[in-house]
Symmetry: C2
Subunit: 363 residues, 2 copies
Amino acid sequence: VTVPTLTVERRRAGRSTILFPSAPAVRAAASVAGPLEGQGPLRGRFDQVVPDRLMGQDSWEKAERLMLERAVRLAAERGGVRLEDVDLLLAGDLLNQIITSSFAARDLDVPFLGLYSACATLTAGLALAAALVDGGHARRAAVAVASHHDSAERQYRFPTEFGNQRPPTATWTATGAAAVLVSAGGEAGEDGDGAPNPGGGGRTVRIRSATVGRVVDMGVKDPYDMGSAMAPAAADTIRRHLEDTGRRPDDYDLIITGDLGRVGRPLCQALLEEEGYRVAVDDCGLRLYDPKRQDVHAGGSGAACSGLVFAADVLPALREGRLRRVLLVSTGALHSTTTYQQGESIPGVAHAVCLEAAADGEG
Amino acid sequence: VTVPTLTVERRRAGRSTILFPSAPAVRAAASVAGPLEGQGPLRGRFDQVVPDRLMGQDSWEKAERLMLERAVRLAAERGGVRLEDVDLLLAGDLLNQIITSSFAARDLDVPFLGLYSACATLTAGLALAAALVDGGHARRAAVAVASHHDSAERQYRFPTEFGNQRPPTATWTATGAAAVLVSAGGEAGEDGDGAPNPGGGGRTVRIRSATVGRVVDMGVKDPYDMGSAMAPAAADTIRRHLEDTGRRPDDYDLIITGDLGRVGRPLCQALLEEEGYRVAVDDCGLRLYDPKRQDVHAGGSGAACSGLVFAADVLPALREGRLRRVLLVSTGALHSTTTYQQGESIPGVAHAVCLEAAADGEG
């Protein structure tokens, strides 16, 4: 009964990096941004900006759910695919029991696996989606993330209405949702979906590899300084990705973390330099808001942060040929109010995916 | 640049079932049971029974984490594999932000992807682990789940010390953890690990297919009757699995749900009968405790419930040849205290994996 297995060597590099030889394509992505996010530097580039944070719902939690659901519907639409033809939804968010994703999945009616990597959920989902598509276990998989400033604030910190002061190391949980549709890469192959990105055109963007993060904890205990808590995990994952693939930082046009912010980004760079890697790390949390006009302290954060910046900024740059190879490294803090109250430190995790735009003429 | 993709037809059946042609093996499993669970019908069959619910820790949460960590270490040990050679840990639990899994992953130091399917997390993890091994993206993947009666009770319901009355439809959250090590199925192939189950011997148990569940919500709002809330999802997944694979219930020696209990199990059977399927459904929640001696009301539940019963009861029966083909259908309720307080109903989900024991002489 034994069916020969695939040679694993083609699909793994080094200790912890997964390769995708069939190069699954980012067929489409969609972003639904909150009002503040819609007024930031990426204004005009989101698929939708919601006019208010409640969206006509009677709770922030219900608004968050609606944003995630809309993002998935939009991504399917932009990818020219009916929801019935999406084999799997991989989604997660920050709320207890990931209710945003679970309740949206109920209404979307797509087979659903819930993920929790805090704000690193986007790249956890992209890694799994690419593996399932590369392995032939899914034809099309949707990845979705969401966060909402007000629902997160009252769950993790204080009643939102209380309006407590926040130290300058604190980041601002982004309000919004993003979805990415991953499908088989071959345009002409029997499993292909035709040219990806049927709406927008441009170059085909493929997922080439992923490095799944270890949980790293350097003992930071301050929930108002999550950038410092997550920076060691980001540095660990970036270093392991470079070691596993035998590449140098220069081989990437952009290495961008999820939400390290103004405090965590230089710390991540310093940790990498200690290991002998000079890396200019960019950060999604520093692209989402304008620090001069928008008072978000150390930058943006939240599961939606890297999702919004990926869908509205990084992916278009790959499609348009302004970037050729990107390492997207979403970052997550894995604590809860319970672990904080029990005196625990804040463990971090970071998952990386390598995205490449096809060269001109390669489709 | 296009690398030919695998023919997807070999790896999908019907609308929502994934096939694993290489038949990844359950290399080892381990169970760590709480004191009550250790006195139930499966006593003597767990790898470890902890003497008290705190395990010398200063909180139930820390004890829960320790159980999950122990289960993973034991499964690796029983599988003859060092933790450094486990490519990936897929784990989840019931606590907010799955802190049990995340903090255990920190100490285990294995690349980690967090899952949340409530009490259906075991089969969500087994489906993903089997896909990653079948696709060649992981050589060995560990799946782990945990729950703890006291940490769950105080998070979801009332302070545990309050000792509030519970209606007879309520289930009892199991205390314990289980881990399953999945590896390439080929004994002789270049990716194989040699004979699975090096400790215990017996037949090789392989994961043949998985059906990922949709989120189903029939409007049940009573958090003290989760069996009724989850039964429709279990029936939906079992029906779709049978349709996708073209099989009849008789083709399985055992179809066993996770934690429907005394109330949900007959409801699941009735729903299947309405669709034309006469299925004798068994339930892990009814195997874990003795209703005559142990007052657990409608049965056991919790993420550990199907994990403990699988590792201590179902897997040994497959290894020993008493069962040949099993459909394991862990079931989850995807609500939170927030959704309950906002008047929402309780959505359910169920993921199924088909496990087969090799015939005599097949290894």
